[in-house]
Amino acid sequence: MIEFRGVWAGYGRTTVLTDVSFAVKEGEFTVFIGPNGSGKSTLLKTVLGLVPVLKGEVRVMGYTGHQVVKARELIGYLPQNSSMDLKYPATAFDVVLMGSYSRLGLLARPGRTEKAEALRRLEEVGLAQFASMPFGILSGGQRQRVLLARALMGDPKLLLLDEPTTALDVSAQSELIELITALNRDKGLTVVMVTHDVNLVVGRADKIGYLKKSLQAYGPPEKVLDSQLLSKVYETQVLVFEHDGEKRVVVGDHHA
C-alpha cells in the first residue's frame, strides 16, 4: 500500500524527513508517534505528494515519483484542523460534502449521488441527526467525527489521520479511536495515523513507528514499545509497563 525507501523530504532548503524507510501493507493500522516538529505531518503530506521528495523513493498504491498524486483519489485525509474557522457558515452536511469536491473536478457540482453519500457517511459516524447543525457549534469529538466522515467520502482505500484526537477530552478520544479501529477491522481500511498519545492505540495498532526526523524504530508494538527507546526519542524519562495484559506508556517522573 505504502512504501518509503530511504526517503528524504522537505520544503525548499529545509529537510524534514531524513532517510525514512518503512512499508505499510493493505489492511494494516499503522501509527507514527514522535515529539513536535519530528516530521509526522510531513510524512503524511509526503504520502499525498504535497511535500517534495529530495532523495529516495515513495510508492503509494503502485504510484511512484510525480505519479503519487494520482493515488489521492483513493486516500481519505484528515488534516490537523488548525486551519478551520469555527465561525465559518457551514453545516456538518456541507463539511462532509466537501469530501466529494476533489473527485468532481473543476466546475462540476455535487449531485444527488454525492449528497446521498454525505448523509450515509454521517450515519456511519453516528451523526446523521446533526447534518443540518452548524459545524462550529458541535463538540470537538463530534467535529472530528464529521471530518472523518468527510475523509470517507468516495470510498478511500487508505486513511491518513493527522493527530485526530488532539484537543479532545478522554471519552471523545476513546469514541473516535473506536470508530477508526472499526473502520480498519470491519471494513479492511488501511489506516496510517500520527499522534502524540501512544496509549490510545496500544492494542489496536499493527505497527508503530517512532519518528524524529528519521525513523528511530518501526515494527509491531510488542517489539518496539520499549522504555529505553522511547526515552531516547522524547529526551525525557518514559516508562513502558504492562497493565491488564496491555502495554502502557507513562512520560515524565513516574516515581512521584
Partner: protein, 284 residues
C-alpha cells in the same frame, strides 16, 4: 415611487445601486468570512491611486483604477501567503502606500480636480448610460465566476489544507478571489465612491452571517440585503433630500444593530473560540 422612476437619471441610479449593492455584498461574504474586512479599504485606496494617476497622465481613470486594484489585491495575496506578515499588517502597508501615491498624484495635478473627488465619495445620481453598462458587464462577470467556482471558493476558504491536499490550486484561487473583490470595487467606484463600497463589502455580509448556517444562503441573503438597502437608501435620499451614500450606509448600520439584537448567532459560536484547537475549554 412612480414619480421617482420618471426621471432617467434616477432610473440609472436605481439600476446602478442594484448592481453595486448586489455584487459588492456577494463579494463581501468572502471578505468577511476570511477576516479580511480591511481588504476593501486597501484595494479601494489602491484603485483611488490608479484613478489619480489616470487623471494626471490623461488616460481613462477606470483603467488606472482596475490595474491598481488588481495589483493591490495580488500584493495582499502574496504577502498573506508568504506568512511573514499577517494579512492585517500587509493590508495596512498597502493601504498607506496607495494613499501616499494618491496624495502624491493629486499634488502633482494643477489645481482642484472635482472629478477625482467624485471617485472618493461617488455620485449615484450622476451615473451615465455607459458607466451603467460598464458596471452591469463587470458585475455579471464577477458573479458568473463566483457561481462557476462556488465549490472551489467554499473549499479553499473553509479548509485550505485539505483543499490543497485534494489538488486544488489554492493560491491561484485565493488570488482570483481577491481579484474579483478588486473588480467589484472598480465597478462601483464611480457611482458609489470608495467609502460606500467599503460599507457594501462588510455590513451586508456581517448581517447575513448572523442568520446563515451555510455559505450559499449567506451569499444570497447578503446580496439581497445590499440590494434592498441600496434601493431604499436611494429612495430615502430622494424624498428627504439627503446625500445618497450616507442614507445607504446609515440604513445598513441600523439594520446591523437590529440584526445583532435579534440574532442568537453570537451566543451559538462564542467569538473567543476562534479557530479550532484554541477552544479546548469549549469541549463538550
Amino acid at each position: 415611487m412612480l414619480d421617482f422612476l420618471q426621471y432617467g437619471f434616477l432610473q440609472r441610479a436605481l439600476a446602478s445601486a442594484v448592481v453595486i449593492g448586489f455584487t459588492c455584498s456577494v463579494m463581501g461574504v468572502f471578505v468577511v468570512i476570511q477576516g479580511l474586512s480591511f481588504v476593501g479599504a486597501g484595494i479601494a485606496h489602491g484603485a483611488f491611486a490608479g484613478v489619480a494617476l489616470g487623471l494626471l497622465l490623461g488616460f481613462d481613470p477606470l483603467i488606472g483604477a482596475a490595474v491598481a486594484a488588481v495589483l493591490m489585491a495580488l500584493f495582499i495575496g502574496y504577502t498573506k501567503r508568504q506568512g511573514k506578515l499577517n494579512a492585517d499588517a500587509s493590508i495596512g502597508i498597502s493601504f498607506s502606500f496607495a494613499l501616499a501615491l494618491a496624495v502624491l498624484f493629486i499634488g502633482l495635478m494643477p489645481g482642484f480636480n472635482a472629478d477625482l473627488m467624485s471617485y472618493l465619495f461617488g455620485n449615484l445620481l450622476a451615473v451615465d448610460t455607459s458607466e451603467l453598462w460598464f458596471s452591469l458587464g463587470l458585475g455579471g462577470i464577477v458573479l458568473a465566476v463566483i457561481a462557476l467556482f462556488f465549490k472551489e471558493f467554499q473549499f479553499i476558504t473553509f479548509d485550505p489544507v485539505l483543499a490543497e491536499a485534494s489538488g486544488l490550486p489554492v493560491h491561484l484561487l485565493f488570488d482570483g478571489l481577491l481579484v474579483l473583490v478588486s473588480l467589484a470595487i472598480v465597478l462601483s467606484l464611480r457611482a458609489a465612491g470608495e467609502l460606500l463600497v467599503m460599507a457594501f463589502l462588510v455590513i451586508p455580509a456581517a448581517i447575513a452571517w448572523q442568520w446563515s448556517t451555510s455559505l450559499a444562503p449567506m451569499i444570497i441573503l447578503s446580496g439581497l440585503i445590499g440590494t434592498v438597502s441600496a434601493v431604499v437608501g436611494l429612495v430615502i435620499s430622494f424624498y428627504f433630500d439627503v446625500p445618497t451614500g450616507s442614507s445607504i450606509v446609515l440604513l445598513l448600520v441600523a439594520l446591523f444593530f437590529v440584526s445583532s439584537l435579534l440574532s442568537t448567532r453570537s451566543w451559538r459560536v462564542p467569538i473567543r473560540r476562534g479557530r479550532e484547537g484554541e477552544g479546548k475549554s469549549e469541549e463538550q
